[in-house]
């Protein structure tokens, strides 16, 4: 349990370079429990790298990352997931040859415990846990209405439409039972109707699911609709932070997206 006032996620002076390229530069970031924070910035600003650092895929060259005050810097990804951080991927990384339901059930591994011996012997305890895992998966999938329920459960993930795949990946992430959800461009490639749905969905994730959410997004309508707070990055540095209206009109942010002459025109 985080102490009063302590942020759920904290990045302190985090730096990461790839070869000569400084992808994340001395970044300080906080996300408080129950918040929805959006991370914006032009391509190459380092947003996905931040996600990768937080989820343990990379270790930062300098700085610290803390979850509920606990230092998680350099821990392996599966450990961080078990401690309560789950994510979706910009390029979608589903288990394509597994069924919809199995994809979500797989995510329950981190908080279940039936071992090899009990599985092979099919003990009553293991069977009970399996039923619970299955119920959990059904519940998480039901979050999306009837798009991923019923006969869909048994369908292989590769047969899903693009929008449904994005939804499935979110459902899978929630099955980890995380405290913090990292959504990497959840509205990418969606038509206006689906984008609207995603906006509502993210709100519902916080209201009904109780998750704290950090979102990378390019679509400003979505960002406007969901964010308590917006953080803007450019070339790995934080250039603005605050409410949407403030950040969206910030001179530096406009310049980062449109370039200086573009900013002048605007």
């Amino acid at each position: 349990m985080s102490a009063e006032g302590a942020p759920l996620l904290e990045l302190r002076r985090v730096t990461k370079s790839f070869g000569g390229l400084r992808s994340v530069d001395d970044l300080n970031l906080e996300v408080r429990e129950g918040e929805i924070v959006s991370l914006i910035g032009p391509n190459g600003a380092g947003k996905t790298t931040v996600f990768n650092l937080v989820t343990g895929i990379y270790a930062p060259d300098e700085g610290e990352i803390r979850l509920e005050g606990r230092d998680i810097t350099g821990l392996p990804p599966h450990r961080i997931a078990q401690l309560g951080i789950a994510r979706t991927f910009q390029t979608l990384r589903l288990f394509l040859n597994m069924t919809v339901k199995e994809n979500v059930m797989a995510a329950a591994y981190g908080h279940t415990k039936a071992g090899v011996v009990r599985s092979v012997l099919r003990t009553p305890g293991m069977r009970r846990e399996e039923r619970e895992i299955e119920r959990l998966a059904e519940e998480r999938l039901a979050f999306f209405g009837d798009r991923l329920v019923g006969y869909r459960w048994r369908q292989p993930a590769y047969s899903l439409s693009y929008a449904n795949r994005r939804r499935l990946e979110i459902a899978r992430a929630t099955a980890v039972n995380p405290k913090l959800l990292l959504l990497d461009e959840p509205a990418a490639g969606m038509n206006p109707v689906e984008t609207h749905e995603i906006t509502e969905l993210i709100g519902r994730l916080r209201e009904e699911g109780g998750y704290t959410i950090l979102v990378i997004e390019h679509d400003m309508h979505v960002v406007e609709g969901i964010s308590d707070r917006v953080v803007a990055l450019d070339h790995g540095e934080k250039i603005a932070e605050g409410a949407f209206d403030l950040v969206a009109t910030d001179q530096r942010v406009v310049e980062a997206y449109l370039g200086t002459s573009g900013a002048e025109r605007k």
């Binding site: 997931a81 990384r93 797989a106 995510a107 293991m126 292989p156």
Partner: protein, 493 residues
């Protein structure tokens, strides 16, 4: 939440689309409907597969297998029955590593060898140690599993292809070790060098000895059933799901809390343990082990079993073991040629059936082939009699029939080679012809294949075996990469 439309609360199978619905994937729904009810042989098999669930499959297999000693003679029981079960076990172990976890282990046969040798050292006249099986078998299994763990450790850092080469070398190192290195321990070469270790004790538990082939067969059968059951349960559990996730996408698996490296080690350990167990039994069956039992050809055969059956499919391993073992045995040099001949011609017919979709066309092709053959035979006999003088090797009824149909020249030793090259070219050319036109070329190619068999293959069946095997792999990967009973996979390449 979404746009208005008439949707049921929990959609059942969509029978007929009720007109376009906004926001609902229409195409996918209709495609799903089509996919759910495939036609033809594939569809029938799928529906059969749904009815005959794995427990029933296992029961059928166990039941049928249990009756085998009653209708196979002892010699055949050994070559066929016992060896099929050995390969089932080995295939199950390899399937755990490659099929469940997606790790390419080309040194797998070394686990098998290690188990056999270790058991032999502990229960034979080699050092005069005769520990009871109840002690040695668990010990050997545990040690082999640990060896698997050890080999799995580099897998964390090595990409798939590198892992393949390292494990391949490990397998070779094992063979070199037992064959040549043979270090002197307690006054004697540990592994017996090229002679291996002989006089291995037969398997005995609590005074019950498995010394007859039938008894050994049942020991293997029971083991196979138990391991099949265990692996099936494992596959249905959270560990099985985690392994499958690992195979699909290790990065995503890690991101959802699956300890990827630990599971890789687990897969290696289980696969190695099964191989070690099989090694123990193998030693007692042959009462002697040498390095040659654990070299590349055996590794390839185990892979063939799993590839043919389909990676990841337990029933596939059983089927694969059956087909591969029986085929290889039919084509073994010691076997009477008639078995091999029957197998080969059945193979030709099978290929024709698979290439030509409808039954009456198949009959047409076969009839044309026979007619063509007879015509060619007659023509050649009339023009150049010496070219049909040759005899069919080890005939029998079928052989005599074939002899009058296939052109077998006498005194033209290179004919077989020429025919073989011609056949390879013809088959390659066949793949380039449009499918609708192929049917015209089939009879000629089939006849040519028969000629090649009688003039070339039948004289060197062991070599022919490997040629067919290599061709089978290529064709299988092109036509049906998921094997006979595997499910087609979608890969992000």
């Amino acid at each position: 939440m979404g746009p208005e439309s008439d949707r049921p609360d929990l959609p059942r199978e969509p029978l007929e689309p009720e007109g376009p619905r906004v926001g609902v994937d229409e195409w996918v729904a209709s495609a799903d409907r089509l996919q759910d009810r495939p036609t033809g042989v594939a569809g029938a098999l799928r529906r059969a597969g749904e009815v005959v669930t794995p427990p029933i499959q296992l029961a059928i297999f166990a039941g049928l297998a249990a009756t085998v000693p009653f209708w196979l003679g002892t010699g055949d029981l050994f070559t066929y029955g016992i060896f099929v079960l050995l390969y089932v076990l080995l295939g199950l172990g390899l399937n755990t590593i490659v099929g469940f976890a997606g790790l390419l282990d080309l040194g797998y046969v070394a686990f098998f060898g290690f188990g056999a040798y270790f058991y032999a050292i502990l229960s034979s006249d080699h050092y005069g140690i005769h520990w009871p099986a109840i002690v040695t078998v668990p010990l050997v299994v545990a040690t082999t599993a640990s060896l698997g763990l050890l080999l799995g450790i580099p897998s964390r850092r090595l990409l798939g292809d590198y892992l393949a080469i390292v494990t391949l070398f490990f397998g070779q190192a094992f063979v070199v070790f037992v064959n040549a290195t043979n270090p002197v321990v307690a006054g004697k070469g540990l592994t017996g060098g090229p002679n291996g270790i002989a006089d291995i004790d037969p398997l005995s538990f609590f005074g019950l000895e498995a010394s007859t082939r039938t008894q050994q067969y049942y020991v293997l059968l029971v083991s196979a059933v138990l391991i099949l059951t265990g692996l099936h349960f494992l596959s249905q559990s959270r560990t099985g799901r985690a392994l499958r996730s690992l195979r699909e996408d290790p990065l995503a698996a890690g991101a959802i809390g699956i300890p990827v490296n630990r599971l890789k080690l687990l897969a290696f350990a289980i696969g190695a343990g099964i191989a070690g167990f099989t090694g123990c039994i193998f030693g007692t069956l042959l009462t002697a082990v040498t390095a040659g039992n654990f070299d590349i050809p055996i590794l390839i055969t185990i892979y063939a079993v799993v590839i043919l059956g389909g990676f990841g499919s337990l029933s596939g391993v059983v089927l694969g073991a059956l087909v591969i073992t029986v085929s290889f045995q039919f084509l073994a040099p010691e076997n009477p040629q008639n078995n091999a001949r029957v197998l080969f011609y059945t193979l030709i017919v099978l290929v024709i059936v698979l290439l030509v979709r409808s039954w009456w066309r198949v009959a047409l092709v076969l009839a044309t082939t026979v007619a063509l053959g007879a015509a060619v035979q007659a023509a050649v006999a009339a023009v150049a009699p010496s070219w049909t003088g040759g005899r069919v090797v080890e005939g029998g009824r079928l052989g005599d029939l074939i002899g009058g149909w296939v052109v077998i020249p006498q005194g033209h030793p290179d004919f077989g080679n020429v025919a073989y090259v011609a056949l390879v070219v013809a088959v390659l050319a066949l793949t380039q012809i449009r499918p609708s036109r192929r049917i015209f070329a089939l009879p000629a190619v089939a006849y040519l294949a028969a000629i090649v068999w009688e003039t070339s293959f039948v004289l060197q069946p062991a070599v022919a075996r490997w040629i067919l095997f290599g061709a089978l792999l290529v064709v299988l990967m092109n036509v049906r990469p998921q094997g006979l009973l595997g499910t087609p996979r979608v890969e992000i390449v």
